[in-house]
Symmetry: D2
Subunit: 491 residues, 4 copies
């Protein structure tokens, strides 16, 4: 059959190109794992040398480029078969029949359905592990920067207006906590993804006693999918990727927002290799790396919807919507996350804080008023509401004279109906640094409290790194085995 121009041009050609660029190795891995499983069938014992030759031929495919598209070959898998057949025939001195009998062992109990799904899961697992590493690196970087700034007082905004003093370390520890929750999400998605579909054949498995647990293990999976229909039909692992694209993308957009604002304000400065200057304006240091991180997070969040729509209101079964046609979207989401994380880590690592500028700014605000009220309750015996009223009057009176709150004197306080307290006690109550230091309860900004939180965060992060490393090591070991031709084939 010659396919319709539109089908070739819009489907077959781009799908082949995508598979050749991104999935070739995964196809060879999956085929090798399947072949090793077939080799263990009683039926196959008598054909061990053929099967061994076939695995060697598969190994040869790894060394060269993927096969190009051809008019009568629908996809990369068929193109690989065609190549293997030619290769085996050449090895067999031109005996095409022998080559076909050999290749037949590869197709036993195998369907394009479970093969494709396995390949897609393998590719997504790799990409997701890169995201996992990037997110781990981000929490590392945030905690390091937080540690360096447990004493750096900033004035936090609410509703885009200065609200209260805290420290940059406190803020960063909060952001790192959000990233820590991302880690739970990533591990959950990885865990659900990390199961092998192979052996499910078209959907019902096969009547040959293929050992699916062995196949899964060979590919470095935690376990096989426990139901063969589920193995080829499910796409909720893709929705997990979509959820990560959206949750991480949108969540981190808020952190980026604040860093961009700090850079615009001038108190945060990025390393020179992260900014774009202008040929004409030497003062212009555009924090474009942050901007590009933002765009990648927007992209990840938006691209997630390609995955959502592709799985929406379609059969729970093998269809193109959740197979070849969604691979580029999966890649877009995961690459956008990976890229955004990489750029953001670079910015956090390359960030410098202008503490003088921050201190001057903090001194000019009235953001310690709350603490003065609290002080009047504690030491003046006032009810909180009365203390508030007096403090508000004080702020107003000083503002009328153009004086910031920190310059208030005991007389000023008395003039507003307040009790007389000592000048030192008053100054202390109005100092941003003291404001911070006094907030030393669980989760507060006082340096000691933040250090407690940081230590706990470091411990969580170490556990996360261990989980990711363990999984990566398992997969690497499987890859080494798989890609060492001849290995594990029974003698």
């Amino acid at each position: 059959v010659t396919w319709h121009r539109a089908y070739v041009e819009r489907v077959l050609a781009p799908d082949h190109a995508f598979a050749a660029e991104h999935l070739h190795t995964a196809f060879l891995d999956a085929l090798t794992a399947h072949l090793r499983t077939v080799a263990r069938l009683p039926l196959a014992r008598a054909h061990a040398s053929r099967i061994a030759a076939l695995e060697v031929a598969l190994g040869r495919q790894r060394d060269g480029p993927p096969p190009p598209p051809e008019a009568d070959v629908p996809d990369l898998y068929f193109a690989l078969q065609k190549r293997l057949l030619a290769d085996l025939a050449a090895v067999a001195g031109g005996d095409g029949d022998e080559a076909e009998r050999t290749l037949a062992w590869l197709r036993l109990g195998l369907s394009r359905n479970d093969l494709d799904m396995t390949v897609y899961v393998l590719a997504a697992r790799d990409a997701l592990l890169r995201v996992a590493a990037g997110s781990g690196a981000l929490r590392d970087a945030l905690l390091d920067l937080a540690e360096a700034h447990v004493d750096t007082v900033i004035i936090a905004n609410t509703h885009h207006q200065p609200a209260q003093p805290t420290t940059f370390g406190h803020y960063l520890a909060a952001a790192a906590a959000m990233v820590g929750r991302d880690h739970e999400r990533i591990l959950g998605a990885l865990r659900r993804l990390d199961r092998g579909p192979l052996g499910a054949a078209a959907l019902a498995g096969t009547s040959h006693p293929l050992d699916r647990a062995f196949t899964a293990e060979t590919l470095g999976f935690r376990e096989p999918v426990a139901n063969t229909y589920d193995a080829v039909a499910s796409s909720d692992w893709q929705l997990d990727v979509a959820a990560l694209g959206q949750t991480l993308g949108v969540g981190l957009s808020r952190l980026v927002h604040d860093l961009v604002a700090a850079a615009a304000d001038g108190w945060l400065r990025l390393d020179d290799d992260l900014v774009q200057g202008s040929s004409i304006m030497p003062q212009k240091r555009n924090p474009v790396t942050l901007e590009h991180a933002r765009t990648r997070f927007s992209r990840a969040a938006g691209a997630a919807q390609m995955l959502a729509f592709s799985s929406h209101n379609v059969p729970f079964g093998d269809i193109n919507d959740i197979g070849p046609d969604v691979q580029e979207a999966l890649r877009t989401v995961l690459c956008a996350l990976e890229g955004g994380l990489d750029l953001l880590v670079a910015c956090v690592r390359g960030a410098h804080v202008d503490t003088e500028r921050l201190a001057a700014r903090a001194a000019a605000t009235d953001t310690t008023a709350t603490e003065l009220a609290d002080e009047l309750v504690r030491t003046g015996g006032l009810a909180f509401t009365a203390a508030h009223r007096i403090t508000a009057a004080l702020v107003r009176d000083l503002a009328r004279d153009g004086r910031p709150l920190q310059q208030a004197t005991p007389d000023d306080l008395v003039a507003c109906g307040g009790p007389r307290i000592g000048a030192d006690a008053l100054a202390e109550a109005l100092s941003p640094a003291a404001f911070v230091a006094r907030r030393d309860g669980l989760g507060g900004p006082a340096p000691a409290a933040v250090r407690v939180h940081l230590a706990q965060s470091r411990a969580e992060l170490a556990e996360y790194h261990r989980a990711v490393d363990t999984m990566t090591a398992r997969i690497d070991a499987a890859h080494r085995d798989l890609r060492a031709p001849g290995k594990d084939t029974p003698p």
Copy 2:
């Protein structure tokens, strides 16, 4: 100040109405928990009777309707304060000053920021627990139906065309496995949500030594949020809700798709109380309950984007975007899920299968061809590719004569170049039921294999129910305590 008409009409009025309808109890719970925490401050010891009176007054608010909006009161929290003040003054024989001194204890160390966030989290936790229950009920129903149909052969489609025999039980067990993964997602979201923000004040905590762990426990939370900035700034718990709306909504849309198709095909029939007839067409039994389930899942998936956009490119801090302005969207997502699950459970529980129709249909397809090829490999010693060729020729030849594959005779097979096998063996190889029975490997459709999977699924589900029940019990106990006025206030 008199606010602008647009601000009143578009913001204050609808926000008050929403809070009065959905958040009143949560406000009283949170205020009571805060008050009990204040009561434990050394500073407060001398005022125990005032604080006790205040808790009693809070309790009285529970008995009546929420306060109505007023022109000069910005929100429900201020309206509650105003009511409490009047109530306390009445109790104090009109002594407004005493009432104010009493009420002041409620405001100590409390900000609208942490109070509101606590209330939002409490409301979302309740709604999410209802979703958790609904999803648990769905897996229960699916597993029960699967159990009843481990022997019911269906012809599964791929690409919307008949592909291979399996059983309805096998299909349902696969769908139930997807729901099982939803349970992991739900528990993860619940776990991340189940931490108390209260005590974070505006963002930096307070200088009064409030015991945030006690407050969190009083509200039935697993623990307090470990960083006060995080407590008021984070919205990733909302993105978790969005992710559930999308992942569950889209995932379940695929199950609904298949049930609607089965109903349209006529082999699945819903109970009469789930269909809409027509006054004119008695034959018309529209499976509208399934249709309405589908629309709720579409709504959940779409409404999730309200949450995503609200948190996108905004400061990581206290803002309206993640506070009052997103509460209706959270409710929409969670109610759509809850409603869709409830409707779907009703349909699964009220589903009846026409097995005769299924059997007739299965007999008319050629979907067992794969098994015949496998049989020729096993018993005929053919290579798989050769076996395939012969089987394909057989199907073609029979189709030319208008005979389905299941009527093939040993002679037919030989005529196509196949080996001669016995009539019984051939009939067996072509029987849908045998096709299924032979696929008894891990995860296959053979009844025994499906029963293994079902047993494993039941065990997972029991563990899920336990986790949800434990959490629910903890919260119920906290509610009982909280809503018993006077309890836990030190004497």
Copy 3:
């Protein structure tokens, strides 16, 4: 039949409540228009008095509240019929048979399908017209503010950093141009929406010669839908609403972003009735109205996805997905837009600019460097690239000395390798105001150029207002007619 609890609780009850609150009048309008069309059938001539009595009964329904839900009545339409029947029977002195024969004329050639779709379109048209008015008011407000600020120099940012001088008027005229393009979008959506489905019956029309053009005109529609299948099946008018929610919501979010940033910077100040203060911090003037506008635009953009998912991968035909189940989503999108526009208009009308602050800020930047380079090309005969190099060196040298570019002297320029130009010419080349004044080409920021653009915009806007007003007037006239009982029924 008694429906299933889940179906009643999740579907019938909320749908009835929604219809009773939002669609009652539209139902009565549509039924009246249908009845008047039936009245013109030859078949109906002999029953004119019955039909007149029925229209009077419909009119009575307008005066009271909508009927409450009942256990055996599926929806508001059936509840209305039941009420009409009782009413007619009462009027007929208890003659139930006569009442039924009378009511039968209402049901002739009518289906719930076309009736419901008509009601939904009527409700959406009203809501969309409110959005149209809001968007018109926004462009009005922006053009007025632009007019007031054609001379107000601001430093425009690129990449969140100061880039070049322009005027606030130039900026606002640009934003108003975007709103002008929204007007094209709104009119397109309105035009496509403004066609009457009624008379399409279930989908195939009826064999009674009902005059659908008359029905459409009676309801104030531009024309009837030209294909009866299209009339009940299409939902692309809902996707137009989704597109508006997204396009206007996201587009306007960018304008709000800049206004929030200007308010945070302090050079833009909102009227007191648009800000939220704080009981403790008198300096705190949170521009919450802008924040709430932002959240409404986020909501509109996100809610649009409920509409997109509801129409995705479902049959092109009458289904619940595009009928009752999507009405709340349509309302959410359109109300969010209407509310956001109302809030934003209030902010634009209530915005005040601190021009001194702007001027001081402009003087401190080096953003006129480009113009100096251009001047050197024009008067110094330099190639542009050479002129750039010299200007860059000058900026750098001055920055080293802590001097802003505007303080450069002719000697400074020569010292950097530039030509000697007069002090006045140099000062002029470096003045932000002159920078603006010189950019008087098509679309540039020079006051005269902006005035040309504003005049053109006013003309476009007047045409838009005319289009909206004409449509509104047509609908109002139809409503007056429809709601005057007895009118147009043949004697």
Copy 4:
């Protein structure tokens, strides 16, 4: 400066690759148009030969491949400048200074901001015109198929159940009407896109009197953007693309849904070159081309969200979010639409209907019951509600005996309480074909009514084709001019 690895790897390298592959010609077009505008400046008259040489050099760039990335060159535009400089120097016999003086004319009054935006708009305009052509071809194909099937009776579903007879032509004409509304949407988006940003420079235009109207005309634009800030800041044209991706994608998904269902039902058959068979199951003809069309529409709808998020809550000004970082997303949306339309057109053109199967199926349903009721009103003088009741009883009684409604006799009708009507009249009232023929009102399914609608649709479509062709011709003429080197440069 050496940029950070992450910035190079995640931003600069992929952006260069994308621009080289997709934007090279647009860059050369835009630069040529700018140069021709500069050439008309009074200032430039004396340098005409230099400028002519520069245009020739630009022409040479068209003949070769785009420049590769280099470590110290940030993007394709700078790489092109570097190449031009080398080329000009070579032409000038190695005189680098002369080369630079020549190249300087290209940079006069030009900024990367307006250049990039122009290039992006040019690329999007081309891609959108391809979508416009594809959508036109779809309406053509639908109308042709409708014409061929104005007499082909189908039973239309509502709620996934058989409802009433109509024709395939009526259905297709309805679908084509939806596509006709898409044409309004496409033309609106094209119109708003078709304006030239060039000459806006960084955002404020330039002090050189560049004729922006001439530049726009040279690039084949309808007109220049009327405000220079708008020219570089706006991204609502991208939101128009997003809206098309969503509106067309989701809208067409409903048509595809029905075609897939018809193919699954077996009454619609695609040409062999559009289906995928199976090596083992000759009967398997998977309508994968339709499935792939569906996935492209899902992708278009989802990818639209990348555009929505990229423009959300970001400044209205020149930023990367709406520039380089969103180009791939624009391409994804537009290519998905183009591909989906191409595949769908192939399917509509390659669709064959099994009319016998349809007729047999129609005869077996009771879907003409409504018409019998209407007949009883018309000829029997019954009230509609009474007629309904009798018809319903008749359907029920026949169903009890296993007889379809079309076999009802006059006696059957009388037995149910109906009037006696003639056997022929009864048969006619129950015939699907007559059902259709009688519905000949405006928009009904009767062949004559459908032909009226088709004729009107053809006229609309012809007008659309004219509009697209006119625009295309204008652009082609501009391209011919632009790409003929030396043309239009003053001597």
